[in-house]
Amino acid sequence: MAPSSPPRPGPLPYLGYGLGLRVEHYEALLANPGKVEWLEVVSENYMVGGGLPLVWLERFRERFALVMHGVSLSIGSTDPLDENYLARLAALAKRIEPAWVSDHLCWTGVQGVNLHDLMPLPYTEEALAHVVDRVKRVQDLLKRRILLENVSSYISFADSQLSEWEFLAAVAERADCLILLDINNVHVSAKNHGFSSLDYLRGIPVSRVQQFHLAGYEQGERLIIDTHDAPVSHAVWDLYVEAVRRFGRISTMIERDDNFPPLSELMAELERARALAEPLLKDAA
């Protein structure tokens, strides 16, 4: 059966400046939420039967707007969509009513094996048609538009016919989904593949971008490794300014996945994002 058109609720809300919720900051964040306006939760961490994870989640839900961010949808895999995964994802979304649900434009496994990594796709018409079909199916099931995030990548494929940004833009337009633009990932992939990060931003349709990620990376010997375990770099702050100029007022968050500093350091980074963006947005207004 061909997927039907996804439901089209009104525009998603602007949430302001937020953080990725991590266990390491649970207590500090509840004790002192500071100017954090919303939280992004990793969907899979809460797709469980019960216990402590869901108790904490409910506590945060009382205080913050939440969005769900998955890592295992594997939207580009040639394995069938995992119905068990999708049922659990839908159940969590029903339970916590997030402002939106996102995952990555990638594949995480095939032949029943999960690599637990955000594997890049070849940017071909075949892959595009495959991903678009699957995004539509997922959106039908969740009864909402989803956001797809650009991933950092270290390889590219000889088969690719499109640039990464052309591919991402085409997926968003054809599947009628939205984009979570990870500014750090744009920078990392641009350096690793030798393209212009500004060309990337210019290739993304403004109306499709719903959220920004800001994060840090590690400089390897030849490649930049997207570790999300360091402060946001100068280059990424600069690119963020360009992104704000192009895309306008976009919900923005700091995403730290490892090497967790005190919460205050992430809050300071978030305030830097606010301080960079707000004057530009005021001028534009």
Binding site: G51, V110, V113, N114, M119, T124, D159, N192
Partner: protein, 259 residues
């Protein structure tokens, strides 16, 4: 097979293989060669799984000591992950340690991994309500003999030949590594969750016999008869009341079914 399928399957094999050359479709360029590019994914896969398993197997880390990381690496190499949640890759580790050389020569490791994994699964098992002493007052006196207790689904009982609980306790409390002890007879270890806390404790022989019978759905009269075999008719009821009170206090009992 579609071209996309072929690319994904070749990439999968290249990441999983112990030694591999990059598939031809991966581009070389002036920034980095294809091998260096592939290595980022190969290295990342192994590190991510190892780090996730470390969190789930604190007792095993305490028991295995310096061998812990190589043990995890061997497991990851032998068993690709099949679950979308990375921590669930731990489900196969107890079985791996039970059959794979050289770990099978040290069965305490598989036993330790079983306890760690039981605690992990109890941690975020489905929430269930439990009853207290006052709730049992609603049972009509004439119905007690045929009453069957229903227990929490997260409750697990492990037969332990070694003092694995001491290793887990040491890991949780950052204490000194205990000496390994082997028992002449297996001891039963109860693992369960009360609220958000995961607990474990040893069961006395008579308690295991009765709790095991309750798990099997035996009637209350059968549980009492079982205890009478241990303690004699006169003392059996007092012991049953003591056990029932303890189980209720620990939140083990979800409810009951009357005939």
């Amino acid at each position: 097979m579609s071209s996309l399928q072929a690319i994904q399957q070749q990439m999968l094999q290249a990441v999983l293989a112990e030694k591999s050359r990059p598939p031809q479709m991966v581009r070389d360029d002036a920034i980095a060669d294809a091998s260096s590019r592939l290595e980022v994914y190969r290295h990342g896969y192994r590190i991510r799984l190892r780090d996730a398993l470390k969190v789930e197997f604190a007792g095993l880390q305490c028991m295995a000591g310096a061998r812990f990381e190589s043990l995890l690496d061997k497991y990851v190499a032998a068993h690709p992950s099949e679950h979308y949640n990375i921590r669930w890759h731990g489900s196969g580790l107890p079985g791996f340690l039970a059959y794979a050389h050289p770990w099978r020569e040290k069965p305490q490791l598989a036993e330790m991994a079983k306890l760690d994994w039981a605690m992990s699964t109890a941690f975020d098992a489905a929430d269930e309500s439990h009853i207290g002493v006052a709730d049992l007052a609603a049972v009509p006196p004439a119905s007690w003999a045929g009453l069957r207790l229903t227990l929490q689904h997260n409750l697990q009982v492990l037969a332990c030949v070694y003092n694995t609980d001491a290793f887990r306790r040491a890991a949780d409390r950052n204490g000194r590594r205990p000496h390994l002890r082997r028992y002449a007879q297996p001891r039963q270890l109860l693992v369960w969750r009360l609220g958000t806390g995961v607990h474990y404790r040893r069961l006395d022989d008579d308690e295991w016999q009765v709790l095991g019978a309750a798990i099997q759905g035996e009637t209350f009269a059968s549980l009492c008869a079982s205890l009478a075999g241990h303690h004699g008719e006169a003392a059996a009821m007092a012991r049953m009341v003591a056990l029932l009170t303890r189980w209720l206090g620990a939140g083990l009992i979800h409810g009951w079914v009357l005939p």
